[in-house]
């Protein structure tokens, strides 16, 4: 660089400046990337810099070019120019002008950092091909247009809300249904574009004009490792709108739909069920419609108990409206039984369903309704699977809690003189028939004992029947026991009759051979005989 005060080097006459060699090089090849193109453009308007780069340093330039390069740098920089005298500056300008360098300048070097930014994958946009870059620009333009239209929609809706009159037509601004639909469509497109361009996702509620104005309540970051919770995006967004709606105590069709969405994502979220019920009550929506909707949810979430509590609440809410109309009551009971049968077909021992079922029988008084449909329905289930203990238990409930033939508040394990004798007989017979089908099945044996107690009958009443399952007791060779439950009951029958020795033999054989896993129990029973 020329030191201060010296005149600018003048080219010798012989070295009359020729246009820099760059301008004479063949036109650049087609750029393959945006960065390439930028580089070519920078080179085109900084021919001298390019020449320096090509030559491999200033010192390698031809002297005339070197002088021109240095002068051009001085011309570009006010700081450098200030170091020259007036005369030197004049010479400098003349020299540079004569070389007719490009007027516009870009930075002479391409910055290292990605000047075009990154796309959603983190890729430098500078590495795009020009075609890709053009397509990206087009999307950006499209997004801007949509944004403008969307703002216009929002402004228009705001005017409509405030009842502003259109200055041209003089009529109050109205936002039509199809405009909202268009806006929804527009936001969907904007979301797609944002995702495409920047990888930014807008939740489906944020996109929905129906939810504008609701500020979602995100769960604040809690301190400490134990509390931070990670949600997938869709669920997190739905939950944040749920929280906002619950805080606003909003009971509306849109919040009802929101609860449905959350329930479908996570039916075990207990709060959403409670909120849904309060929306239904506040809007006074028809319960049968809700029950119908619930059927579908229940069928796809067999193990969820919130569903059954919700149903319980619905029935409690609905019952007073049909209580005085026997036909309505019967029809509701029938549709419930139909559904319960359907769901129990898929999961025959589902505890929530059976618990709900006993609640329903009591609530609607279904004991003898529709020609004892409840008992017949359970009977059909026992026909299908004689080992279904839930069905046995429900049968006991239906038969022995019917207020027409039982005493209220008598415990299940106590005799009840209000139960007619023929019912006791019928139930003993029923249990016996089922025991024949599968003698080692404990449900009908427990049932049989339960019925005998209810009827205040002696166990000895079934001694003959029980004896059929036990042959040659105590004879090591010939002993034959088809049911350990029979042997157990037989021990009690002997004890009841005071035959301690036979009772002890039964219990000894149970512990030794027929049910050794409960040896401790049988031995305890044997010990009790002596007491």
């Amino acid at each position: 660089m020329p030191p201060k005060g010296k005149t600018v080097a003048k080219p010798k006459e012989a070295e009359k400046p020729t246009p820099p060699s760059t301008t004479t090089t063949s036109s650049p090849t087609q750029p393959t990337t945006v960065n390439d193109r930028t580089k070519q453009r920078i080179e085109a308007i900084n021919p001298l810099s390019a020449a320096v780069t090509r030559a491999g340093g200033i010192s390698h330039l031809a002297p005339a070019e070197r002088t021109l390069y240095i002068n051009a740098r001085f011309a570009q920089s006010p700081t450098l120019r200030a170091k020259l005298g007036t005369k030197a500056q004049r010479d400098l300008w003349r020299h540079v002008n004569e070389a007719s360098l490009p007027v516009r300048t870009l930075l002479p070097v391409i910055p290292k950092t990605n000047i075009w930014g990154s796309d959603k994958t983190g890729r430098d946009v500078g590495t795009y091909s020009p075609e890709e870059f053009a397509a990206r620009s087009q999307r950006r333009n499209r997004l801007t247009c949509l944004l403008v239209a969307s703002r216009a929609f929002e402004a228009r809706r705001e005017r409509a809300r405030r009842g502003v009159k259109d200055p041209v037509t003089g009529e109050v601004v109205m936002v039509a249904e199809n405009e909202v639909d268009q806006e929804r469509e527009r936001r969907r497109e904007m979301d797609a574009l944002r995702r495409e361009l920047y990888g930014v996702k807008t939740g489906s509620y944020a996109q929905d004009p129906e939810w504008d104005g609701v500020v979602p309540v995100e769960l604040g970051e809690q301190e400490g490792e134990l509390a931070a919770i990670a949600y997938p995006e869709e669920y997190a967004e739905a939950i944040s709108y749920l929280r906002a709606s619950m805080l606003r105590k909003e009971y509306s069709p849109r919040t009802l739909r929101l609860t449905e969405h959350v329930i479908k994502l996570n039916p075990a979220h207990y709060t959403v069920w409670l909120y849904r019920f309060s929306i239904l009550s506040a809007l006074n929506l028809p319960i049968p419609g809700e029950i119908n909707w619930l059927n579908g949810i229940a069928l796809s979430n067999l193990k969820n108990y919130q569903i059954w509590h919700h149903r319980h609440l619905l029935v409690d809410h609905y019952y007073p409206t049909i209580a005085s109309d026997p036909a309505a009551l019967a029809s509701f009971a029938a549709s419930e039984t139909d559904f319960l049968s359907e769901i129990l077909e898929r999961d025959t021992k589902n505890y929530h369903v059976w618990s709900y079922r006993s609640f329903l029988v009591r609530k609607l008084g279904m004991w003898k309704m529709d020609n004892e449909r409840e008992r017949r329905s359970v009977e059909a289930m026992i026909e299908d699977d004689v080992r279904n203990n839930s069905a046995w238990s429900h049968r006991f409930f239906v038969v022995f809690n019917d207020p027409e033939q039982s005493t209220p508040d008598v415990a299940a394990t106590e005799p009840d003189p209000a139960v007619p004798g023929d019912i006791i007989e019928r139930e003993i017979q029923y249990a016996r028939n089922k025991i024949y089908l599968a003698p080692q099945n404990q449900s009908p044996w427990n049932y049989l004992r339960g019925v005998l107690v209810k009827g205040g009958r002696k166990l000895a009443e079934v001694e003959g029947f029980v004896g059929e399952f036990v042959k040659n007791l105590g004879d090591d060779e010939k002993e034959e026991v088809r049911s350990s439950h029979a042997l157990d009951l037989l021990a009690e029958i002997y004890a009841e009759k005071g035959d301690r020795e036979m009772a002890a033999t039964c219990l000894k054989r149970l512990g030794e051979k027929w049910d050794p896993i409960r040896y401790g129990y049988w031995e305890w029973r044997r010990g009790m005989l002596e007491a």
Binding site: L226, A228, A230, N266, A268, Y270, Q442, V453, I517, R518
Partner: protein, 329 residues
Amino acid sequence: MPGNNFSSLPDELQLATAAHVKYIQSLDTRKDEYEYWLTEHLRLNGLYWGLTALHLLGHPDALPRNETIDFVLSCQHDSGGFGAAPGHDAHMLYTVSAVQILATIDAFDELETRGKGKGLVGKFIAGLQNRESGTFAGDEWGEEDTRFLYGALNALSLLGMLHLVHVDKAVQHVAACGNFDGGYGASPGAESHAAQIWTCVAALSVAGRIDLVDTDKLGRWLSERQTPSGGLNGRPEKKEDVCYSWFVLGSLEIIGKTHWIDREALIKFILGCQDTEKGGISDRPGDAVDVWHTVFGVAGLSVLRYPGLQPVDPTYCMPKSVIRRVLGK
């Protein structure tokens, strides 16, 4: 007594204590897993299960005490009740877990100084009792279940506030859930079920009314739950399962009939449900582990006097030492 024979068992039938401790510690670092947020409504319960398992395994300090307290208190509402996680509604089940956790780590004082106080917790629970039927609802919406009744008596007794509720009426309701087979169901008329039996019997135990149980009849039904695999099922003709093994065993222990079943066979069944490498216990051998089956597996082994475990209180499913400290007995 079993216990003497265990050193002779093969490795897979030894309790993998270190692996279980690690597994429980890892539970809260799985926040990127789908399961984690889907089970958010169980978060406070999960903490109680994990913490109790750690105490029974003899590693009471494996979870950071202060963070545990912070998290529990962050779930408390102005009503005094606790939700499953911050932002969830208050509910009986989570309130009980919160009380059990605070009792276990001896932090009732913190509830007083940094939380909303014991008094409000007691008031929340007492407010859920139906004064006519004696039952308890889970929350203001009124779902009633014997699990809530048991939870209420459990937590109130730990807080020393049983006098806030009608214990006698609650006891009457439990009695009404009794069935012809000697078991108990979730509500009057509902089928006997091991988990419901445990909550009913444990509730009666808290109330000091075990005299109401026909222990011979119930013990008979409970002992019939053992299957040839050694494990116990929850209802007749259902599959054996580690959690039901606890519900049956805990009930048998409360009524003093644990010796009615084959204890060694049950120990082998529970040990066979361990993931001995990654830790944790599953419902049945070979299934995926979870913290629920882990705590009940460990608690079951504790009742069965498996060597090296802290004794568990069958009524509270908490370490006996904690119950002794809190209740002074």
